[in-house]
């Protein structure tokens, strides 16, 4: 319960700001004792829940207690020029700076949303594609791109060095079996090919694909292309629940 509430705060400064705004406190004259106690209470709740997330809050709580203690000292500390130092000063400055960035963040959010109500041209609507299909995806390079590329190379190398040649059991599928299977799967109103073969082995995908083509040719199913260029839907044709395979062709199969 409380955790959900504290999760609403971006950090310790954000929580502190909440108390200040709630009580309409003058940020330049924070009643530290009261705020420190309230803050501590809020953090105590947090501590029960998630120590990791609490660390930053606990640090600030300690800072508040320290300021409170300094405020209680009978004689104020003096700076180089003999002026009394307000122990709250540094915290107030940080808080003010934080408030500014917080507002800036809100501002950016508004801009981002306004900007994204406008759509730029889609990537595919380009004559360049028709003239020369893109060979490689290209990037505008930054140092981070360089680092990411290095990461990718490392990942590939790690995979290669880790590769244990698993003896995969030989699987084989017969096209007529897959035809029946596809038909049974699409009877309810069709399915995308991607969904039909999701997480299946390569031979399964190949034979199922051949089975779908075969069924489409026999007009037992319809193949429908939609918005996804990498997938298509397989829809049943009313009344067809099986294909008569009494005729010619020998059973077609593929193996891993």
């Amino acid at each position: 319960m409380h955790r959900v509430q504290l999760d609403q705060f971006e950090g310790p400064l954000d929580l502190l700001l909440f108390f200040i705004r709630r009580d309409e406190i003058d940020v330049h004259d924070i009643p530290i004792a009261r705020i420190a106690d309230e803050y501590l209470e809020a953090v105590r709740v947090l501590e029960h829940v998630d120590l990791d997330a609490a660390a930053d809050f606990i640090y600030t709580a300690a800072l508040l207690i320290q300021i409170k203690a300094r405020m209680l000292m009978p004689r104020p500390e003096l700076d180089d020029e003999g002026e009394p130092i307000d122990p709250r000063q540094e915290l107030v400055e940080r808080l003010i700076e934080y408030v500014r960035y917080k507002e800036a963040a809100g501002n950016l959010e508004g801009r981002f949303e306004a900007r994204h109500r406008l759509r730029t041209r889609g990537q595919a609507a380009d004559q360049r594609d028709e003239l020369a299909p893109p060979v490689e995806v290209t990037y505008r390079a930054t140092i981070f791109d360089l680092v990411a590329a290095l990461g990718a190379a490392v990942e590939r190398a790690a995979q290669q060095s880790e590769t244990v040649r698993h003896e995969v059991a030989r699987e084989s599928f017969a096209i007529d079996v897959q035809r029946a299977w596809v038909l049974s799967r699409v009877q309810g109103g069709g399915a995308s090919f991607g969904a039909l073969v999701a997480r299946r082995s390569k031979p399964f995908v190949i034979v199922t694909f051949l089975a779908v083509l075969d069924l489409a040719q026999r007009q037992a199913v319809r193949i429908v292309f939609g918005l996804d260029p990498e997938d298509f839907a397989v829809e049943p044709v009313a009344g067809v629940t099986s294909v008569d395979d009494a005729a010619d062709e020998p059973s077609f199969s593929a193996a891993a």
Partner: protein, 220 residues
């Protein structure tokens, strides 16, 4: 007639280039590309004029897009009015929302750049590691070299893509922060907190201890 024909070709080329580009195109680049083909000399100002004519034509013709100026370049985008239709077909707006920690981190970097990670952490009072990584991955932020301090920490700065994605022409188009008093007095600042207020204040078992030594202004 000749002059009109030339203007037409120029405007058409400008339109085609801006249309075809995936990123904001600098007017200079448009002028140069045109000049390369025709063997003539052109400047950025001519491109800007052409963009003015094109946008005027879009307006009177009822076109659904305009040429915008983002990240110092020119880019075509749909007008605000057609947003409902566009979002009905491409339901990605929710996915594009940025978290508050991302926005805060981005704001600090945008205003303080180039800036190190410890500086960002200090301003926010929390570790910004995760948010920073996300920003790098989304190409809103990039590494801009190293600072001078101990260990020469990496410096971070915003990218052109940041400007483009936030509809800014240049960094100086960022609004200057308001005065602190205005901010804290503004009821719109943090309106969502008003809801939390009731929930959080009600069950608090510990009452504020009125320290006698503390000079507390009004309440006690």
């Amino acid at each position: 007639m000749e002059t009109v024909r030339t203007t037409d070709t120029f405007d058409q080329a400008v339109e085609a280039l801006i249309f075809a580009s995936d990123v904001p195109l600098r007017p200079e680049d448009v002028a140069r590309a045109y000049g390369e083909v025709t063997g003539t000399e052109h400047g950025a100002a001519e491109v800007e004029e052409a963009v003015g004519r094109l946008n005027a034509a879009y307006r009177t013709g009822g076109r659904a897009f305009r040429i915008q100026r983002w990240a110092g370049g020119l880019r075509m985008a749909t007008v605000e009015e057609v947003h409902p239709f566009v979002s009905a077909l491409f339901e990605d707006d929710a996915a594009k929302r940025l978290s508050r920690s991302l926005l805060e981190t981005l704001a600090v970097i945008a205003y303080k750049q180039p800036v190190t990670r410890p500086e960002v952490d200090h301003v926010r009072g929390v570790n910004s590691d995760y948010a920073l990584r996300q920003l790098l991955e989304r190409d809103f932020v990039t590494i801009a070299g190293r600072g001078e301090g101990i260990g020469r920490p990496l410096l971070y700065a915003t990218t052109d893509r940041f400007l483009e994605q936030f509809g800014l022409d240049a960094l100086d188009a960022l609004p200057t922060p308001r005065e602190i008093e205005d901010l804290l007095a503004d009821p719109a600042f943090n309106r969502e907190r008003a809801k939390l207020l009731a929930e959080m204040t009600a069950p608090s078992p510990i009452q504020p201890a009125p320290d006698s030594d503390d000079a507390e202004p009004d309440q006690s």
